[in-house]
Subunit: 283 residues, 4 copies
Amino acid sequence: MNDNRFTELIGKEYKCLDKGFVRLLDVMGDDSSIVQAARVSYGKGTKSVSEDRGLIRYLMRHRHTSPFEMVEFKFHVKLPIFVARQWIRHRTANVNEYSGRYSEMKEECYLPETNAIRAQSMTNKQARSDEQIDAEETAKIIGMLGDTQFRLFREYDEMLNKNVAREIARINLPLSTYTEWYWKIDLHNLFHFLKLRLDEHAQYEIRVYAEVMSDIIRQIVPITYEAFDDFVLNSQTFSKSELKALKAMCQGGIPDDTKLEEFGIKGGERTEFKLKMRSFLED
Amino acid sequence: MNDNRFTELIGKEYKCLDKGFVRLLDVMGDDSSIVQAARVSYGKGTKSVSEDRGLIRYLMRHRHTSPFEMVEFKFHVKLPIFVARQWIRHRTANVNEYSGRYSEMKEECYLPETNAIRAQSMTNKQARSDEQIDAEETAKIIGMLGDTQFRLFREYDEMLNKNVAREIARINLPLSTYTEWYWKIDLHNLFHFLKLRLDEHAQYEIRVYAEVMSDIIRQIVPITYEAFDDFVLNSQTFSKSELKALKAMCQGGIPDDTKLEEFGIKGGERTEFKLKMRSFLED
Amino acid sequence: MNDNRFTELIGKEYKCLDKGFVRLLDVMGDDSSIVQAARVSYGKGTKSVSEDRGLIRYLMRHRHTSPFEMVEFKFHVKLPIFVARQWIRHRTANVNEYSGRYSEMKEECYLPETNAIRAQSMTNKQARSDEQIDAEETAKIIGMLGDTQFRLFREYDEMLNKNVAREIARINLPLSTYTEWYWKIDLHNLFHFLKLRLDEHAQYEIRVYAEVMSDIIRQIVPITYEAFDDFVLNSQTFSKSELKALKAMCQGGIPDDTKLEEFGIKGGERTEFKLKMRSFLED
Amino acid sequence: MNDNRFTELIGKEYKCLDKGFVRLLDVMGDDSSIVQAARVSYGKGTKSVSEDRGLIRYLMRHRHTSPFEMVEFKFHVKLPIFVARQWIRHRTANVNEYSGRYSEMKEECYLPETNAIRAQSMTNKQARSDEQIDAEETAKIIGMLGDTQFRLFREYDEMLNKNVAREIARINLPLSTYTEWYWKIDLHNLFHFLKLRLDEHAQYEIRVYAEVMSDIIRQIVPITYEAFDDFVLNSQTFSKSELKALKAMCQGGIPDDTKLEEFGIKGGERTEFKLKMRSFLED
């Protein structure tokens, strides 16, 4: 409400893949809304900006997630159907999608760039590898994909011309066909989406969207995004057994405070780090 | 975003019960956002206002609910704990509540007005009746409730003074104690809340809040609220058997009991049917 | 648990469309679990079977939905992707789907029967009509759909043979390709699914699945299903304005257009109202 | 279904606090259901038990959570209202609670043991400390709590005797009053509940319930529970900055395979651990 700071972000079309996009349509709240909501729980009044940053980082570190639910984003996204199928698995969002029953599907399909045509990974059963397919083969494959997409839409047109119901005529359209939707989600659940979809194991074609959305929201909730980046995105979790191995590896003891400060660990975060280290070193 | 129309509504404290309130903190979207979201599905461009109204009413009538999820409200509410316990059963909302573990509970309890002290209903096991308790008795009861609330907070203070942990000291505080929360919900789920909590069978103390919220959102989504009022709030649903009876009725009065039994309407179902029919025949 | 009554239902494959199926894998609870859960709320002991039926019908009639959430079903479903895309919009369920990233897609596509190839409806923008397409044309269309499905899988094979990653090779597979999933849902949410997907406006291909599931669960919760059938599936809801007209009707036939307009029923709403009234008057 | 292994667990009342309990009412699925659901996604057939264990641990480690949603538990719980208020914040569960509007509240309140009366923590604003209050004071406090609970129920009785509606008469009952509910949840969401409520920062009175539930489900899904214990409950997560500090502390390099095996790190878990360590040591 009444917020003109993000005017230049709203409605702007950020290109994704060859024909897709992400547009931020609306936003409710910012860093300060999170602080405000947390302070309802703690019964404290407003404080300085540096205390706000500390509070946000504390909430993120301790997975006190409900204040992050108080910020809401609405996006307009254009994306291939096979990406939409992965995306929709995130259930805690509101969606309105273009309907192939109501409306004619537009002739727009995702055609991968040369660089996206990769060999199956040997080590990761669900992913492509870094290995390129032979350049000539790649060109042939892209040609074949494009020709097929063109032909499938000719068959679609033919059926529509014969007055076949849209809901039937579309059944052979390819998973590469673009669809569009409005997608509304709160920041906590968006972070969960981003954590999974920014991951290197996510399919490249959905990661592209996650990266764009991450760039957009970073500008709206900079302090919270930084905390997410530090405590979630770039964190590592060690299991019970791994902590034993880690303990064996740690010959040097906990670095002194000056050293810790160089790493960006200070204040309450330092206290907690020391407690965390002592708990597994002395276990 | 960028919306100054509702400035006078935002933050305004609407009194509820003796010490509670509802404040609208923020809103995302309005009638036009619903139309816009629906048109993503239907693949149509924007149209005239009268067509917008028609579309909204069509969506409501046919329970096409997802476009209503595209509007979001954030409220600040102060309410007695026994009301909060009914309210929280609506799961599709985001909540940050004041914590009696972090912070001292404020000495504020709900003390019913004379008019709210009613006899147990004989026909409805979950409700109070219209029957007032004897005036003198009512005064005594209110006096007793108030005295007890005062005494319970003295015991609470005494425990805090002895440094008993807040999370233990509060266990004997009464269900009438006020709490506060931020509550964020989309319009579709808010309508579901309102339908249940505006109902005459809802407890009076939560209905008061539902009425205030309904007055607030009616100003923000007037066309959609009108459709909700027509097609949901003030609608009647007739079962398979009732529809048979209704048909017969259209040639005469309410069928006699033998006839109703032929339609499969008997026992409690018959009683309810007659009430329902009389209510619209004699309206 | 410990329940052998439904042994013959569990695991049985119920055919849907040309190559799909529904299999009930597991169930938690039955009619009596609903009664038991409701009685926790009402604090009453167990009663006779006829009282159980009365209670279940009361709960259904008054939309006291939480006891119905206490029964849970797990299904194994094989379905075309375009059906899966409609199905997945029901968010309050648990899903494990076959992955085209992990595993090779099986060459199985939905090929409609002659009877399913229909003309676009003129009155309902999202549906097919009852009108058949010319028989010769229909045969040609089915032939074309089948040929294309065959060819698309040849191209898929070719890419896999060239070691293109599965997640890329599958992007041109058609929406008619079959997928499989485990789908777990509680009875309340399953009823919501069935209400929408048994509706004549639901696409035929998903309605087939809804009908099979409805036949299965009717055997497990017969009393509850009957209540659902009476009070939800075959009910009619009349709006505020329609109720006024209904009242007038009970002294005569359907009011004329001028009269209806007085009640606020006009345009599309009037058309629908007349259809609704005729449907029960002429039933 | 058809499962007699857990007969002795079903319905058994596990005492919690002074008058509460947890009873497992029903369960759908076990370790093998998780494996089965995961294999739908991966398109693989059934394998040996040791491979099943490996798969479950892989799923847990990589937060592939959907197969864990395929197991469902239904509990009957008796708990003080202030515990119920924390518990209900877990939204992805089904609940039927005893109603103080329908039924008279039973005179049962939580009266803490001597050991539970502790001083407010100085370091943790939301918790009690380890410090006992003076023994004599503690006895007085417990006496006062008990007397007050008795008196509040006398006032409740008095109002009921005067025919005050139950929904009003109960407003001054204390938060320590016991309530009961049926609570149904899937294993993934139950793990989330347990992680938060087994934590040392959870209030003691809810932790007691989490511990009992954790003991029950450990017997039903032993392999999955062990994985939860290793990879979630007893894991530590290090932030971006903390990983830098950890790197400085690690002088010794990664322990050799024999050493790692002593810590219980072998097979795929060893490969992943080495990758994890290299990624931060070489960063």
